[in-house]
Symmetry: C2
Subunit: 338 residues, 2 copies
Amino acid sequence: MSLINRQLRLKTRPEGLVQREDFDLQQHAVPELKDGEILVRVLYLSMDPTNRVWMSDIPQYMPPVAIGEVMRALGLGRVIASKSPHYAEGDLVQGLLGWQDYAVIDDRRRKDYVKLPAHPSVPLPTLLGGCGFSGITAYYGLTEIAPVQVGETLVVSAAAGSVGSIAGQIGKLRGARVVGIAGGPDKCRYLVDELGFDAAVDYKAENWKQALAEATPDGVHVNFENVGGQVMRAVLSRMVNGGRVALCGLIANYTSGARPSDDYSIIIVKRLTVRGFLAFDYPDTPKAVQELVGWVMSGRIKAEETIEHGLENAPVVLNQLFEGNNRGKLLLRVADDV
Amino acid sequence: MSLINRQLRLKTRPEGLVQREDFDLQQHAVPELKDGEILVRVLYLSMDPTNRVWMSDIPQYMPPVAIGEVMRALGLGRVIASKSPHYAEGDLVQGLLGWQDYAVIDDRRRKDYVKLPAHPSVPLPTLLGGCGFSGITAYYGLTEIAPVQVGETLVVSAAAGSVGSIAGQIGKLRGARVVGIAGGPDKCRYLVDELGFDAAVDYKAENWKQALAEATPDGVHVNFENVGGQVMRAVLSRMVNGGRVALCGLIANYTSGARPSDDYSIIIVKRLTVRGFLAFDYPDTPKAVQELVGWVMSGRIKAEETIEHGLENAPVVLNQLFEGNNRGKLLLRVADDV
C-alpha cells in the first residue's frame, strides 16, 4: 500500500490550553498488515475533556500519553483492510483510534474495539455522542451511580455539553425537575426551549448563585457534576441532607495548573454520598446503548453534535471544551465515509 | 433552692486553638423549676471536635453557638429535681447539657435527652465514649455508611481517638485487616499491642507515607476518615478502585482558618464512594448501644477515656483534641456522682 498516515504525536505537555506546538504532525507510510491485524480509516474523533487529562502526567485512571506517542483518543472508523478472521472490510469500529488518519489494530486487543453495525440506525456522529460514551456516561450516572427519582430536583453542570445535555434529558424522562448550568444566554435558552429542562442558570451572569437558589426552591437531591470548582461548590451548598452526587468530571480543574481548593466538609455537613465513576467501567453497555438509540430515534432525547474538520486542527479544536464553545458532542471529522 | 450554676458563655469566636478568654465564666442562681421542667446536675461533658465547629460561624449541621450563649456540649447528668412526669430524681440523662454545672430542661424537648438506666452496666464515662456517640458513630460508619468485609483493608485516621479506636476494633471484629494512623510511637504501640490493630502508622514520623504503603500492600478498601488534609490525601492515594470512604470528621481543618485544599479528582480516578454522616441521624441507636455494651463488657472492645477535671478548664481541655494529647474518649468531669 502507498497510503500516508498523518499522526499527531505529543511533543510537550501543555500548560493551560493546548497549543498546536505541543504536538508533532508526522507522516509515515502505512505499514503492511501482519496476520491478525486490521487497518482502520479514522472517520470521526471524539473530543473529550479526558484527552486533556491524558496529556498531563498527573495521577489518573490510565497512564498518561507518553512524549512521542500518538495522542490517545476515542474514534469511529471503517475497516479498509483485514488480515483477521474477526473483522471484514467495511466493518465499523469504535475504540481508541488516536489522533491519526489510519489505525493498525491487532485483533488480540479486539475487546477494546466495539464492532458496530455496518449501517447503523443513527447517524455516525451520534454513535460517538448521545449513543456513545457520552450518552452511556449520562445513563449510568443517573441509573447506577446517583439514581434520580420522580419529583426530585436534579442539577446538571456543563449542561449544554455532550454528557450534560443527555443527562438532563434522562432526568426528565425519569420524572425529575431538571436544572442545567451552562455559560451564556444562548445555551440556557437551548436547554429550556429545545431540550425541555425546567430551568437553566447562566454561570457567567451576575447573581447566578441567587438564580440557582431560585431555580431549586426544594434544594437539590441529585447533582450530576461535570465541572467542579465554584460551580460545584454552589450546587453542593443547595443540596438537601442525604443528597447524591454523580461525580463525572471536573473540567474546571483540567487546564488550571493550580491545585483546586475544594472542600470535603460539606459532604459531612449535608451527609452527601459522592460517587466517582467512569463509563469505561461498564463493559456491558449494549443495554444502555439500546435504550439510548431508542430514545434518540423516537425523538425523546435530542443528541446534538458540534462537528469540526481536519486532523491537523485537533489540538485547538479540543480547547473549545474548556472555552465552552461547543454545544452537545464535540467531534472532529477526519475523513468522509466512502 | 440556693444552688449556684457556673456557666461558660461564648464571648468571642476563637481563631485557631481555643483560649480561656474566648469564654465568660458567669455564676447565676439556679432558677425555680416550672411545670414540665427538670434540673440536671452535670457529671461529665463530652469533649468533641464538633464543639470547635459549633464555636465558628461557618456553615454546619446545626446553628453555630451564638455569642453570649452557654457553650453547647453533649453531657451526662443526674436528675436532682423534677416537675415532669417523664423523669424522676436519680434518673441518668444524656444529651446537650452544655458547659455548665446544672441544666434546666423542658420535658417537651425530651426526645433530645436519652434516659439511661440509673445504674448502668458500664462505667459512666464509657456511656459517653465507647458506648456513647463515639461508639455509635464508629458502629454506623462501618455498618451502614461504608461496611467493611472480611479480608478487606480498613484504614482509620485519628485511630487512637474516641471514634477511631472503636472503629478499628469493630473492623477487627468484622474480619478486616485494620491499619490505624496516629501521632507518635506511644499511640501506635497502643493500637497494635493493646487494641489489636494489624499495623499502625505514625504520621509524625519521616517517611510515614512509605510506611502507609507498606502497611497496605493490597491497597485500601475502606477509609474511616476523621482527619482530612494531607492524612486523608495519603489514604485516598492508596485506595483501590471502587473503595468506600466513611467521612466522619475533618479535624485537620477545624482550627485552621485557611480554606483546605482538598481535591475531588481522586474520587473520579478511583471511582470512590464517599459518604458523609452524622451519628445524630440514627435515632434508633438502642441496637448499636446494646451491641457496643456487649462488646465492651465481654472485653472484645476496649473503651478508654482520658478524663480531665473542672468545668472552668473546658476551653483548654478541648484543645487536647487538636494537639493530639488524648487517648480514647476525652471527657471533662464536672461533678462527682453522689
